[in-house]
């Protein structure tokens, strides 16, 4: 039996900010251009993939984040079982999309680690390391962006008021966490 290890060990609390990893979450990278691609996705997971840049769409079980005109990330809203890594939805979409050449479906569950930031100081933290302009973002629930934080590529999703999810490549996650903790300690 193989055990599950996540790169980030503990939850950290600071004045006005809490930092924690949420795992395991299923994550799929979806790519496609055609109408059929969009409708097929829609039919199978009843989410309409957002076409507007820097936005996201959510259903009861999944959230779809816009990454580029032909690329989205689908994230499960709730954590999945650590005991196995068979994801029904992945199989389903792979058969409906990849197999039929409508686009591509790729499991990126462990490609990206999701770090949740909550509290009123989220954007003070981000402003110490990201060139992105959060002035509008911070007031728009559901907004998302890909940018740099401490020179690391991140996907940032504003999932609810005073809560933001950071997606970062796993091999960078411990470094980013260390940076976040350093910066947060001075907020």
């Amino acid at each position: 039996m193989l055990n599950y290890t996540s790169p980030i060990k503990e939850v950290k609390k600071y004045s006005g900010l809490t930092v924690s990893e949420i795992s395991p979450l299923m994550k799929l990278n979806l790519r496609g251009k055609s109408r059929d691609f969009l409708t097929t996705i829609g039919q199978n997971i009843n989410i309409i993939l957002p076409l507007e840049a820097n936005t996201s769409a959510s259903s009861e079980n999944y959230t779809a984040i816009w990454l580029s005109p032909d690329e989205w990330m689908l994230v499960s809203n709730r954590t999945v079982n650590k005991e196995n890594n068979d994801y029904e939805i992945e199989k389903l979409l792979f058969n409906k999309i990849s197999k039929t050449n409508l686009g591509s479906v790729t499991d990126v569950t462990d490609q990206l680690v999701m770090i949740n930031l909550s509290g009123e100081k989220i954007f003070d933290l981000l402003s110490t390391g990201s060139p992105f302009n959060f002035n509008d973002f911070r007031f728009k629930k559901g907004s998302s962006t890909q940018t740099l934080l401490a020179q690391i590529d991140v996907i940032i999703h504003h999932n609810q008021i005073n809560s933001v999810n950071l997606f970062v490549r796993r091999s960078f996650s411990e470094h980013l966490m260390s940076w976040i903790n350093d910066s947060a300690s001075r907020l």
């Binding site: 193989l2 290890t5 790519r31 890594n85 490609q111 796993r170 091999s171 411990e174």
Partner: protein, 1002 residues
């Protein structure tokens, strides 16, 4: 004697809190709110430093960031001592320690002072003309020169302070919180624009905030009171952020500005504790309003640099703001009304002002009248021809100017006593930031100033930095400009009633005449660098005409004050001497930063562990716990080798290699780049990016691929596996992963948009454990008992989708060592556990973890290349003797055409070969050069050793090398010339071990 030079009248100094500090080892007292400069002056200390070249005694000249003379070393702790700090900018705190710079043994007695007497031998650029004999002796002279140059001393221990960055995006940035800046900030904020207001001082209000003259009224209030009320209102507004002690350093294109926020330099040691020292603000503003004010000009006359000679506005500020008397017997020297304001201010405080020397014939402005009414003596159309007193001004000599101002009306010389001279040569708009942003200036004849003309970006200048000097103009013009710039109807300052004293006459002489010939005088233009008017004239005489030439030849404007005071005079003197119009001489370019910017601030937290990213594999903790040494590969830390006990690297690698070939080894290969490729054109895509053919690769099969640049040189390599009809997983080198991904996306998006292919990086999604060696099959069998590992079911270069327990994984049977080996790819979260289970399962076979060094050795035994080690961007696949991987049939692939150029087809190119040393125990040095004939000159180098190891499995030293024409040299004897010896080698086939690949199917 301390504090006897205070006048009780300042609202800005807290006389109830006394602060003690040290200057040159002696303890002094000042008050909260004092700068080091004001506190020293209050203690009657004018002599603060020594000049750069002549080591002349220098005092405090200004009250701001333009100070050229009073620069000191602050602190004597080796880690946090700071050189070249302006005494006028240091806010004193308990425990502050400062000392004079560039003097030895002391500022009072400085050996370097002899330079002042040698000065006739040290004209501008003297060093270009001498120190050339004897030849090659320059370094000796240089030692002396270097020691007398330099100002303060660098710290010698690492900084203990913390610096930070902050990105700010605002609608409006207002730079400068003087009267016009305050107006701008209020107006912008009231129009619902989120606004940022910055000022380099610790208080808002600029010069107006201590302007207490009845002559200047706004809305029937004394200007300082009016401004006070405005500021109070300002502090109530939200969506306005105000930052003091914050100086804008650079104004880049697209309204991107850098500002330094100073957070703790004004605090005592214990107040500083764990606080961020300075923060670099990276500001992106939609609109920028520059309100940086203006700088008072000195006057250029003989010996205008003595301690006690100051700017008239500084004398006023020290009195009005700090309540400090700069001199007991003051004289002012001016070409405009400013000095009168200062004089009156002093008189009203009961401070003695002896007289005013004015180069103008007369003036009937109300402020001049007021001065006369106060009984102040004025010497009209007079100038100072010399000053006296070495360490402190004692006397000045004045003479009456002729009509044209170039000589004298008569030969009468009057000598006047004074210990403080306040001079005013008019004002220079602070256009530095404006020009940094790319703005163009225009010259205004009437008062000889450069003012903003053409704007590069969404910005505007208001107030005196825009050339408005009179109070009423400042308020009216600023208001009008704001309306236009912010596109609003009114500002709230539209028709306020303003009373002011208008200047009625102006006169400017850049270089005031002396009764001595210029050659005998020292009229300083750049105080810090000791550049005088005569130096500028010498430069012009020697043919240096452009301002940039003069500047570089005389070093004018090259000091730490960046010539804020002197640059205009340099231009003026050039214009006058060459007869060119001032506007046509052009200005020197103002280069960022406006005021010097601490390295630590620019770097922020990108120090130590945050200098660069540190990528970890899922098994990283295991490696650490098992004593691994690490190697930097790109941003990754890879396990390099696993020393046991006190093994050396060599010993560890020998053991790891042997164990792997004899039984089993395990390698963490998680860092290899992995790209998931899907789409109906996936195979065609691979055909175009790799040198070999892919269409016929069976599903479930793996193939090695080589990637070239368009120039035909090897770029990257790796194994790609066909997972399905239109589904591949590509692996790349660790270092090349990101570049390969980028390059492939580039081709897909820009050259081949017609291809239906999607790429997704999955490098981090998988952890990869490679188990290799004769017993690897047995180990894998223990992990997955029901997997048929027979060559029939799972042959070399094939792949299986399997489960370990309930967890899906991908297993490739591929080998980079020549051993039977399996690469297990599993979801990263299970990687560490997988590794541990492999170790358990392998225990009975003495499974040995090995790192990159052993991996390199094992592959070298098999003659496999490592891109980047055995190639250097100049090797084609043919050079590498890898013709087998280059398809002759394919019509095209990236880089194919370049393989058919005259040079790339040459037979005698450097080619990959193996080398064996005649003495099997001699291991060649990687990078060693190779020759075919001894003692020839010039030496003809054939190539170099790219990889070299002692192979424990072959019991001899082996090496890979690139050699000119190596292909046809099999068996040839060559030489490796080292410093101390020559090593004999023989060219052999690069595959040293198991040519028949028996081990792969063992």
């Amino acid at each position: 004697m301390s504090q006897n030079l205070r006048v009780k009248s300042s609202n800005f100094i807290d006389e109830t809190s006394r602060i003690s500090f040290k200057f040159n080892g002696k303890t002094y007292y000042g008050f909260k709110g004092d700068t080091l400069a004001s506190a020293l002056l209050a203690n009657d200390i004018h002599l603060v430093g020594r000049s750069f070249k002549y080591h002349r005694p220098r005092g405090i000249m200004t009250s701001g960031s333009e100070e050229p003379n009073a620069i000191v070393q602050v602190g004597n702790d080796k880690a946090i001592t700071e050189p070249n700090v302006r005494a006028t900018e240091v806010e004193i705190y308990n425990g502050l320690e400062a000392k004079s710079q560039n003097c030895w043994p002391s500022v009072n007695f400085d050996i370097g002072g002899i330079n002042n007497f040698l000065s006739p031998l040290l004209p501008a650029g003297f060093y270009y003309k001498t120190f050339m004999w004897p030849a090659s002796f320059w370094e000796k002279y240089e030692i002396a020169i270097r020691h007398s140059a330099g100002l303060g001393r660098s710290p010698t221990k690492p900084d203990t302070d913390i610096y930070e960055h902050r990105y700010i995006h605002c609608d409006v940035l207002v730079i400068g919180a003087g009267i016009s800046g305050i107006m701008a900030a209020k107006t912008a904020t009231k129009n619902n624009l989120n606004t940022l207001l910055l000022d380099e001082k610790n208080e808002l209000g600029g010069m107006t905030i201590y302007q207490n003259s009845e002559k200047f009224k706004i809305d029937n209030k004394i200007s300082s009171e009016w401004l006070n009320d405005e500021i109070e209102e300002l502090n109530k507004l939200d969506n306005l952020e105000i930052k003091t002690r914050t100086s804008v350093a650079a104004y880049h294109g697209y309204n991107y500005l850098l500002a330094r926020e100073n957070l703790t330099d004004h605090l005592s040691k214990d107040e500083k504790e764990n606080k961020v020292r300075q923060r670099l603000l990276k500001i992106r503003a939609k609109k920028v309003i520059v309100a940086t004010g203006s700088l008072e000009r000195p006057l250029v006359f003989n010996n205008n640099d003595r301690p006690g000679i100051m700017l008239s506005s500084a004398v006023k500020k020290y009195a009005d703001y700090y309540g400090v008397i700069c001199g007991k017997n003051n004289i002012f020297f001016t070409n405009n009304d400013t000095a009168y304001e200062s004089a009156i201010s002093l008189l009203k405080k009961g401070i003695n002002v002896h007289c005013i020397i004015d180069i103008r014939e007369n003036s009937n402005s109300s402020i001049v009248k007021e001065a006369q009414d106060l009984g102040l003596k004025i010497y009209w159309s007079h100038t100072i021809v010399d000053t006296h007193g070495y360490k402190r001004l004692k006397q000045i000599s004045i003479m009456e100017l002729s009509k044209d101002g170039q000589s004298f009306a008569n030969s009468n010389k009057i000598v006047l006593d004074c210990d403080c001279l306040g001079m005013s040569g008019g004002w220079t708009p602070a256009v530095h930031l404006f020009t940094q942003s790319g703005g163009k200036l225009k010259f205004r004849e009437k008062d000889q100033v450069f003012i903003p003309n053409k704007y590069q970006s969404e910005q505007v200048s208001i107030g005196s930095c825009n050339g408005d000097f009179e109070l009423d103009e400042i308020i009216k013009n600023s208001s009008d400009i704001l309306k236009d710039f912010l596109k609003i109807e009114k500002t709230g300052f539209d028709n306020i009633n303003v009373e002011t004293s208008k200047e009625t006459s102006k006169k400017n002489i850049w270089l005031l005449p002396s009764d001595k010939i210029v050659g005998k005088t020292k009229p300083f233009v750049d105080y810090q660098n000791d550049a005088t008017a005569k130096d500028i004239k010498l430069a012009l005489r020697e043919g240096f005409r452009s301002i940039e030439h003069v500047k570089r030849y005389t070093t004018t404007g090259m000091g730490t004050d960046q010539g804020k005071l002197g640059n205009m005079h340099a231009l003026g003197i050039i214009a006058d001497t060459t007869g060119v119009k001032m506007g046509e001489v052009g200005t020197t370019t103002f280069r960022p930063p406006y005021t010097p910017l601490t390295f630590g601030t620019i770097v922020g937290r990108n120090v130590g562990e945050y200098f660069d990213i540190f990528r970890r594999t899922p098994m990283n903790d295991w490696h650490i716990n098992n004593n691994a040494e690490f190697e930097n590969v790109g941003q990754w830390k890879r396990a390099w080798y696993y020393p046991r006990g006190n093994e050396t690297m060599y010993e560890a690698v020998q053991r790891e290699s042997k164990a792997t070939r004899e039984s089993a080894g395990i390698l963490d290969a998680s860092t290899l780049g992995k790209i998931d490729i899907q789409g109906s054109d996936a195979s065609e895509f691979l055909n175009r990016v790799y040198t070999n053919a892919w269409s016929k690769l069976g599903i479930g099969k793996c193939r090695y691929g080589l990637m070239l640049n368009e120039d035909g040189m090897v770029y990257d390599d790796g194994v790609t596996t066909r997972l399905g009809e239109n589904h591949y997983i590509m692996t790349t080198t660790t270092g090349g992963a990101a570049n390969v991904m980028g390059k492939l996306e580039d081709y897909l998006q820009t050259e081949w948009p017609e291809l239906d292919v999607y790429l997704t990086s999955v490098t981090d999604h998988f952890a990869t454990a490679t188990i290799g060696g004769p017993n690897s099959k047995k180990i894998l069998n223990k992990l997955i008992p029901d997997l048929d590992l027979s060559d029939e079911n799972f042959p070399h270069m094939s792949f299986k989708e399997e489960k370990i327990g309930k967890i899906n994984c991908r297993i490739m049977r591929i080998s980079f060592t020549g051993e039977l080996s399996y690469e297990i790819n599993i979801q990263a979260s299970y990687g560490k556990s997988l590794w541990e289970q492999c170790m358990d399962a392998g225990k009975e076979f003495n499974i040995t973890p090995y790192g990159t060094e052993t991996m390199h050795l094992l592959r070298a035994e098999k003659g496999f290349i490592i891109v980047g080690q055995d190639t250097d961007g100049t090797m084609t696949p043919i050079d590498l003797q890898m013709d087998w991987v280059v398809s002759k049939k394919k019509y095209d692939f990236i880089g194919k055409r370049s393989l058919y150029r005259s040079d790339t087809m040459r037979e005698d190119r450097k080619q990959m070969v193996g080398l064996l040393t005649n003495d099997p125990n001699t291991v060649l040095e990687e990078g060693a050069q190779i020759i075919s004939e001894l003692n020839q000159t010039p030496v003809k180098m054939l190539g170099h050793v790219t990889s070299s190891y002692f192979s424990p499995n072959l019991g001899k030293s082996i090496a890979l090398a690139v050699v000119k024409g190596g292909k046809n040299m099999m068996g040839k004897k060559l030489f490796i010339p080292m410093e101390d010896k020559t090593i004999n080698v023989t060219v052999v086939d690069p595959i040293f071990l198991d040519k028949e690949n028996k081990k792969l199917n063992a």
